[in-house]
């Protein structure tokens, strides 16, 4: 079966987030002066072919741990899969 997963990678709290800061700094220019604590992360979507959803999820966890995120500076979260039985 083919499962679609989405992984969110975010900087650990306390680390400089220049993208978040830049977005935050530009918001008053479009009329929003009430926004703070803006953070920008990474969103990765991937399809995994595996016998079961559980196995696919385990693989995604490993992929996220070993490549998509760096445990020194980032946290990640695997979102619940929207199962996709699409054509091979």
């Amino acid at each position: 079966m083919r499962c679609t997963f989405e992984v969110l990678v975010t900087l650990k709290p306390g680390l400089a987030d220049p993208q978040g800061k830049a977005v935050e700094a530009s918001l008053p220019a479009i009329g929003f002066s009430n926004v703070s604590d803006v953070h920008v992360g990474r969103h990765v979507r991937l399809d995994v072919e595996a016998p079961t959803e559980g196995e696919a999820r385990d693989q995604v966890e490993e992929i996220a741990r070993r490549l998509l995120s760096n445990p020194v500076i980032e946290d990640f979260r695997v979102l619940e899969p929207a199962e996709a039985e699409g054509p091979a």
Binding site: L15, A16, P18, N70, V72, I73
Partner: protein
Amino acid sequence: MTISTPRVGVITFPGSLDDRDALRAVETMGGEGVALWHADHDLRGVDAVVLPGGFSYGDYLRCGAIAGHAPILDDVRSFAERGGPVLGICNGFQILCEAGLLPGALIRNASLRFVCVDVFCRVETSQTPVTSELVAGEVVQIPVKHGEGQYVATAEQLRRIEDEGLVVFRYVEAGGDVSESANPNGSVDNIAGVCNGAGNVVGLMPHPEHAVDPDVGPTGGQPLFASLLTSALAGASA
């Protein structure tokens, strides 16, 4: 009997920029530069390996993240486990951290700006292949040029790095004092370079390969390459 010339390999990744300067620095200092390719499983029998600066794989995902899993990294890992001298410069440092060969990580400069400036680095240990001909406390002037050179580590890693003397270089004033103003990127404890537990794998953000020719700036990179060649030769004859 011939006097052997140390052979130093420089790995080119897609997006490497300073590979040719690194090869040239090796040759300038009397070694033989050997071009290596990221997709090969072949270190061509070199005595030392340099991972140069640049933007490997466009720095996609994170700086050095994709290169950290390049085919040749398997060979670099085996070479390092056998005690071979490995030097990562700038992007090369980021790659070694991503590959798990060095502790810590490099993130966006605290200033959020790219920095390109000559800095002073204090040598913290002479027990590495790139500082063997220097004395702890010596200061060398070398340029930095990076947007993501802020060294960070987990609290546990940092404790180990400091306790076990794994800091190789710190950003300092010309006189050797650690200060906030001497720190170009906000690195924790002014750390400019670290080594692994065995001391044979070293990474640093400053560019010693850009500092070997007196015609184009400071020459603080000379003793680093001289040390690397000596260490390479020692390994080759061992």
